[in-house]
Amino acid sequence: MHATHCGLDSLDVSHIPEQIGGLSRRDFLKFCTGIAATLGLSSTSALQIAEAATNEQRPPVIWLHGQECTGCSESLLRANHPTLESLILDIISLDYHETLSVAAGHQVEAVKKESMEKNKGKYVLVVEGAIPMKDGGVYCKIGNKTIHDHVVEAAEGAAAIIAMGSCASWGGVQSTPPNPTGSVGVPEVLKGKTVVTIPGCPPNPYNILATVLHLLTFKRPPELDELGRPKFAYGRLIHENCERRPHFDAGRFAIEFGDAGHRAGYCLYKLGCKGPETYANCPVARFGDVGSASWPVATGHPCIGCTEKHIVFEKPIHALAKVKSLEPPTAYPRIAEERGNGISPAAAGLVGLAAGAVIGAGAMVAAKVGDQPEEKSKE
């Protein structure tokens, strides 16, 4: 698809550089259009996004790591439109990231401090990983300071806060009972502050890209639900957009891995697919750039519900999902449905007439016949 087909042809794009990172202007505009579509915005917004992304003043980003596996960063590393380097070199200014920074130790901590002071009120804070709270938060320390204190400190001057991944969003695998380190998500630590959560294990990289670009473009986070999740990505159940849904409706299920139904692409509900209770845009946005139309369910694995707090690490993979789209239930016949034709005025009238005619005829005859006791027999 060409950018010119997306409503951009009428717009002046000359101020967008011809080459951005590894992308041509055309490819860059296509990327921005894609992001606009992910956000559910019109194609004209793509230009705004492109303008925001090419702004000389690249927004600084502070990326903190708590209790995590760096899987979220890894998934972002594998996004290829744009590639990570074009993202961090041309779109944002990644001032602090423990995995990606070339510098280390006191040097990098100093860069972080400097950036936070210089860009106070302007930088974006991204937190990856959960925050342990037990025993004063000693279970995760960086530079002799607990991650809890790092997060609170960085949040002070942040223009926006993004919790990246399930751990940062609600505690993730660390918070699974018995939760030995008392780990929680960022919203729990920064109560009262707006935290955009991008749950997922790992989350879809395009969901965070879209969120970041939304912040850059409109200077406010996208519309969020009550858990802080952007609605464009987490507004619907996997079940609602799943390509295997018709099989569910028709009662065609894979019963075991590798059986005939599984090979035929039937619904994975019986294998424990959590799609019916998991909110995410995986069936629409797909996942992980490994090829077209690919996401876990498409490859034949049931959804494990990685975005949902009480599902992914608490419910066994084979356990059946609660089908949420049916709550509260609609489109079912009720126990008592009105059926059959009741009384109609015409029918009621007719019955009245007939009864009246019978009684009338009876009365007429009664009036006619004699009232004398026992007539004389003719015999």
Partner: protein
Amino acid sequence: MSAHADHAAPVGGRILTVPFLILGMFALIAAYFLILRFIFGLEAAANINNGYPWGIWVTMDVVVGTAFGCGGFVMAFLVYILNKGKYHPLIRPAVMAGLFGYTLGGMAVFFDLGRYWQMYNVFLPWYMHFNSVMLEVALCVATYVVVLWIEFTPVFLEKIGFNNLKQKLEKVLFFFIGLGVLLPVMHQSSLGTMMLGAGYKLHPLWNTVLLPLLFLSSAIIMGYSIVIFESIFAAAGLKRPQETHILAPLSNILWWLLLFFLAVRIVDLLWRGVLPNLDWQGFWFLVELALFVIPLAFLSKNHQTARVLFLSGFCLLLAGTLYRINVYLIGFTAGTSGWNYFPSVPEILVTIGVFSFEIMLYLIFVKKLPVLASPQH
């Protein structure tokens, strides 16, 4: 039948009178809707549904219609079994009423049956299900229709002058008379048993294991009532002398039967501790009860006038009809909630047409055949 029948004679007169043509019109309307029913299915003419599978066709045409036809067997019992010869003039019209009631009841069954083309299955031994109340009703009614036609055959033979054959038939008629009393006793009671199969769907006011007894006794009451009603109605309508002298003693029998019926009905209700509520069913129960009780008061006098007799008979016919409607329709509630039923206009017109047709047949028969006792006698 016996020698007394000789006194009967055709009434004579024109067939195509105005009332006859009006009745004919109703019959034609019914025929039209029945054609629709056979082309498009029952829904095209009737409101019956899976909540209320039996509508007024079953209730009125079959259950009430055959009860109207009970005059034949109750009079046969009185005249031929109990040997009360004085009632003999009433027997032929009574048997004829039975003939029409049952024949048309059978016809109504035909157009109410969903798979009428397999109706003969009830006569195939390998399909018969002997525990079914309905099989008993079906076989009894079918046999009784044949018996009624045999009982009535002497009238035809008399008309065409085959007196020799008539005498031969009358020699063996006693067997059919016996059978003709037994069969209605069997199926009229079973029409009551039939609704016990509905279980909880039948309202407690009518839901009793005594239903067969109540149906049988109310059928006998209706049988005597129709004889009284028909006699007085015919006398008034055809301008013939009243037969009050034989109807009055008949009404005494009726009074005792009525007392028996009401006693059973009320004792049963009291024993089961069921009282009518202030609702739709309760209302119709009270109307039904009133219609039974009023004639009981009327008939308690010793010397009845034709008018009182007529009104009592009329009242009891309404009472018996309402009792049957109550059991089959008003007291019946669909097992799953949400169902509605009230007869549709075509459905009612078909029932009106069936009864009109019955009266038309009556008029033709009494005018052309020796049915009514001759007034000259």
